[in-house]
């Protein structure tokens, strides 16, 4: 056998100049040959540490060994024992801080491309057209309501259906998937794949009720009368604004609104699809996370000549995945570091024309360990813009807490749970994902779902709270 490469097997991608003219996925994914070459890089550690880095504890070494042996069918079955949605997590997990960070190869060379291999198996199975659904046991007689069809809700629904409980999944929007559908753009996560993965849930007997805003059409207490347990996975859908002058000018969006218009409502296909979105020529996105990258890259695809990221810290502190930052840079997104908007200036018709920023320097580390940005006096500057997107974070959606006063929250308005089993302060009610964490990641939400589904099972079996 030839000596394996110190680097990951590269994944072919659409060239930047071409891809900013379309919404198609950027990376093409591995061919079976490439997958096998990459899988052969795994050195089969005696004590695989990669698994410790995975929030849902996939048998990583196991499925990679099966790829190396070209046993793809067996590989996907093993993968799905721990992760029902591998096509999604293989694409959107921050592997560099999870499984791949723990890979021993990464000490001297590049780690094994675990995420790409996970994605390969899921795509291989889907393209073959025979998605395997785990067998469903006989009904236990218990009913569970899952509120929210994002990553945590999907995980809970899948786990509990596999245990034999009857699961009803409630979603406020007209399509399931939560952030996978309205938030993460098509070029990063094709919606056809999301819908296909969610289709497996239906095959497992999960009823999905769309257009159902819990807190309005039914209260949490009403759900508790109909169901033996309830899981809340309603996410962090309340956008933060900067609260600076001029922020309500025309041409200023929250990232949630910008992405919902372009992804969920397909405004990039306007006027065939009827929802409009403002197409700026000079677009400023405020923030340094994955959502900011998604917005800045969406702006390019909607025809922006200049797409600028304004971030108050420096490159090192950016919370976005390195791959996303890299993709954004390749596509021509401009980064304005150590700057924070202090005002937006509009014209007489109330349209935004300029953003005024304060220059920052980095001070001492704050509670999160990141160096705190400190304003530099008298160093303000202005930039001409005609669209701004605020992508500085979200709080948990308050709709259910506000109609359920007995649900205990912490000072950040997140739902308080027992991290060991996902229990909230109300008997029979569990929670997980961004409603507990604030804006976090897809795989953490899936991990929370896994913990909560174990907690729900335990409660339904023993009846003890």
């Amino acid at each position: 056998m030839a000596k394996s490469s110190p680097k990951k097997t590269p994944m072919r991608e659409q060239p930047p100049k071409e891809r900013i003219k379309n919404y198609n996925e950027v990376p093409f994914g591995y061919s079976p040959e490439e997958a096998v070459i990459e899988a052969e890089r795994c050195i089969k550690c005696k004590k695989p540490s990669c698994i410790e880095g995975c929030p849902v504890e996939i048998d990583i070494q196991g499925f990679i060994a099966l790829i190396a042996e070209k046993k793809f069918k067996e590989g996907i079955s093993l993968l799905k024992k721990k992760n029902i949605l591998p096509a999604l997590s293989g694409r959107v997990c921050p592997q560099e801080t999870q499984c791949e960070q723990k890979c021993v190869l990464g000490v001297k060379n590049e780690p094994v491309a675990i995420g790409r291999l996970e994605r390969f198996l899921a795509d291989w199975e889907r393209e073959k057209g025979e998605i395997e659904v785990p067998p469903i046991p006989e009904w236990t007689g218990k009913k569970v309501a899952v509120v929210g069809s994002g990553p945590s809700g999907i995980t809970v629904a899948a786990d509990l259906a596999q245990t034999g409980h009857k699961v009803d999944l409630f979603e406020a929007l007209h399509q399931p998937g939560g952030v996978l559908t309205y938030g993460i753009p098509e070029f990063r996560l094709p919606k056809a794949i999301v819908l296909k993965e969610i289709d497996s849930l239906k095959k497992m007997g999960v009823n999905i009720y769309l257009n159902s805003v819990i807190g309005q059409i039914k209260s949490l207490n009403e759900l508790l009368k109909e169901y033996d347990a309830v899981f809340l996975g309603t996410g962090a859908g309340l956008p933060w604004f900067l609260e600076v002058p001029g922020e309500n000018l025309n041409g200023i969006y929250s990232s949630n609104e910008y992405l919902t218009r372009s992804n969920l409502m397909k405004a990039y296909l306007f006027p065939k699809y009827k929802t409009p979105v403002i197409k700026g020529k000079r677009v400023a996105t405020v923030g340094g996370g994955n959502v900011a990258m998604d917005c800045a890259r969406t702006a390019l695809r909607l025809g922006a000549e200049k797409s600028i990221i304004i971030y108050r810290r420096s490159r090192t502190e950016m919370p976005a995945r390195s791959e996303e930052v890299h993709h954004a840079e390749e596509e021509g997104v401009i980064f304005q570091f150590l700057s924070n908007p202090c005002a937006f200036i509009g014209d007489k018709n109330n349209w935004v024309r300029e953003v005024e920023c304060v220059r920052m320097k980095l001070g001492d580390p704050d509670a999160s360990g990141r160096r705190k940005p400190v304003p530099i006096p008298d160093a303000n500057f202005r930039m001409p813009i005609d669209l701004a997107i605020i992508a500085i974070g979200n709080s948990p959606n308050p709709l259910i807490p506000s109609t359920t006063p007995e649900l205990q929250l912490n000072k950040n308005t997140s739902v308080v749970i027992n991290p060991a089993n996902g229990r909230t302060s109300i008997k029979g009610v569990f929670a997980g994902g961004d409603i507990v964490r604030g804006g976090a990641t897809v795989i953490l939400a899936m991990g929370d779902g896994r913990i909560a589904s174990k907690g729900i099972n335990e409660y339904l079996q023993t009846g003890i709270w």
Partner: protein
């Protein structure tokens, strides 16, 4: 899918009333709340006022004016056709403390354009709570007025205005409003629902008379569940999301000028879209 069970043109070709079978929403919705609908697969989500409900039959009534592509599409649907998505109830209902009888007090209900539809739903709730109601409704002309008889039936006093004088008093709703406020000293509350400019003018007058005034705002919306802030309005110098904090607010604290400008955001896109549909 939600079936249309009745269709009625209230003003020829421009104001339409639809009864839609939505048993769960009909059971839950209260005065002041609204729904968001998406007519078909390629449609946009638009907020619509609920003018009435019939819990027993599981029906809600929506009344809308044909102003653009989506409302035109909605008008084209026939009895028996279905609307792809209807979500609701959304927003906060009219505050229950407002619905308790205001002893020896009177409420003036002012409605303009399609705002009359939601005004009627709220006025009915006020009447059921044994309040005295003075109704004022106005429109550009006679053909654009609707729910006239229904409003008349629940109002103790009732005035109609039209801009061109083709029916009732000639002029705007603010004229009889000012008259009532001068004549009657016991007005406890004014409720105004209609175009932004109308609500703004009503509030200017009621502020002079120091009468508390509620308005129902109508910004651009997408999800209607508080996740995007597209419908943000400035009330009392704070950002509020109309879909979850409203739609009803203290009219004396609303920044109407900002709302008016934000509502013009997609005017050009709307035109492009209509041209696309004609093509």
């Amino acid at each position: 899918m939600f079936q249309i069970v009745r269709k009625h043109e209230m003003a020829k070709g421009t104001i339409i009333s639809l009864d839609i079978s939505t048993p769960e929403i009909a059971r839950k919705i209260k005065a002041g709340q609204f729904v968001i609908i998406r007519v078909n697969q390629t449609g946009e989500r638009i907020p619509l006022t609920v003018a009435d409900k019939d819990t027993f039959s599981g029906i809600i009534t929506i009344i809308f004016q044909v102003v653009g592509k989506s409302t035109a599409l909605l008008r084209s649907l026939k009895i028996g056709d279905s609307i792809r998505d209807v979500v609701g109830p959304l927003g906060k209902p009219v505050e229950s403390e407002l619905l308790t009888p205001l002893k020896s007090g009177t409420i003036i209900m002012v409605g303009g354009g399609t705002g009359i539809a939601i005004l009627y739903h709220i006025a009915k709730a006020f009447k059921e709570a044994s309040n005295n109601i003075i109704g004022i409704i106005g429109a550009k002309n006679k053909d654009l007025l609707f729910l006239e008889n229904e409003m008349n039936a629940i109002c103790d006093e009732f005035t109609i205005t039209t801009d061109d004088g083709s029916h009732g008093e000639k002029g705007f709703v603010t004229q009889p409003l000012e008259r009532y406020l001068k004549e009657k000293k016991d007005i406890q509350l004014v409720y105004a629902i209609g175009p932004v400019i109308m609500m703004k003018n009503v509030c200017r007058i009621t502020k002079e008379f120091e009468v508390p005034t509620m308005v129902s705002l109508n910004p651009i919306m997408i999800d209607g569940t508080g996740m995007c802030g597209g419908c943000r309005v400035t009330v009392d110098n704070k950002i509020r999301f109309c879909c979850v904090d409203g739609p009803d607010f203290d009219g004396h604290k609303v920044d109407f000028d900002e709302l008016e400008k934000r509502n013009s955001l997609y005017r050009d896109d709307e035109k492009d879209c209509i041209l696309f549909s004609i093509k």
